[in-house]
C-alpha cells in the first residue's frame, strides 16, 4: 500500500480539490458544446436523438445545476480541509460541512435521476450519488460522536 505522511496527504487532498474546482469551471465553458453533442447522438438505450426543444433547454439547465452543486460541494470540502489542516477537525462546524456535502450528493442524485428521463445511463450515476450521500452521512454521524467525546475530554480537568 502506498503510504504518505499526514501533512502530505492533506496537501494532496487540497490539491485535488483545487483541481476539481478548476475542472468544474472548465466544465462551465465546455457544457454548451458537450450537451448538444450528447443530445444529438442517438444511443440504443433510450435517446433516439429526437429530444424536443423544451427537453433540450431542460437538459441544459439541469446540467448547469449539477455543475453548480458540484462547485458548492467542492467549496464546502475545501473549507473542511482547511479546518483539518489547522487542527479543528472535531467541531460542530466540521460536522455541518460534511452534512452539507452529503445533501449536495443527494441533490446531484435527484438531478441525475431527472436526466435519466432522457439519458438512461444517468440512473447509474444517480444510484452512485445516493450511495455516496449515505456514506457521507455515516461519516458525519461518526464525526459528530467523536466531537462529543473530544468535547468531554477537553472539559475534563
Amino acid at each position: 500500500m502506498l503510504k504518505v505522511s499526514n501533512k502530505f496527504s492533506i496537501n494532496l487532498s487540497i490539491a485535488i480539490s483545487v483541481l476539481f474546482f478548476i475542472a468544474c469551471i472548465a466544465g462551465l465553458f465546455i457544457m454548451p458544446v458537450l450537451v448538444p453533442m450528447l443530445i444529438d447522438t442517438p444511443d440504443n438505450i433510450g435517446n433516439r436523438g429526437d429530444i424536443t426543444e423544451i427537453g433540450r433547454v431542460l437538459v441544459m439547465a439541469v446540467s448547469y445545476l449539477i455543475l453548480a452543486v458540484f462547485i458548492f460541494a467542492d467549496v464546502l470540502m475545501f473549507r473542511l480541509l482547511q479546518r483539518v489542516k489547522n487542527g479543528f477537525v472535531f467541531t460542530e462546524q466540521s460536522v455541518s460541512l460534511i452534512r452539507g456535502v452529503s445533501w449536495c450528493c443527494f441533490a446531484v442524485c435527484l438531478l441525475f435521476a431527472f436526466l435519466g428521463l432522457y439519458f438512461q445511463l444517468s440512473f447509474i450515476v444517480a444510484f452512485l450519488g445516493i450511495f455516496l450521500g449515505v456514506c457521507l452521512r455515516v461519516v458525519k454521524n461518526v464525526i459528530a460522536e467523536a466531537t462529543e467525546i473530544k468535547n468531554e475530554n477537553d472539559l475534563t480537568v
Binding site: N151, E152, L155, T156, V157
Partner: protein, 66 residues
C-alpha cells in the same frame, strides 16, 4: 447538580488562581474551566492535588445541590 466552590476556598486561603495552578500543576485555562463550573469531569489526581494545595477536604470544594 454538582457545583464547584473553588473560589470560596481560594478566598479563605487567600490564594490566587495563578498560584493555585502552579501548585496543582494544571494550566490556568483548565483551572478556570473548573472554577467556572464548565468542567464535565474531574480526575481524582487533580482533586487530590487541589485538596493538598488548599489544605481542605473534598466537600469544601465540591457540593451537591438540588
Amino acid at each position: 447538580m454538582i457545583i464547584i466552590n473553588l473560589d470560596v476556598m481560594m478566598a479563605k486561603r487567600k490564594m490566587s488562581l495563578n498560584e493555585l495552578s502552579e501548585k496543582v500543576g494544571i494550566t490556568l485555562a483548565n483551572l478556570s474551566i473548573l472554577k467556572n463550573n464548565k468542567a464535565k469531569a474531574i480526575r481524582f489526581s487533580t482533586l487530590d492535588a487541589i485538596c493538598k494545595a488548599l489544605d481542605c477536604k473534598v466537600e469544601d470544594i465540591i457540593e451537591y445541590v438540588e
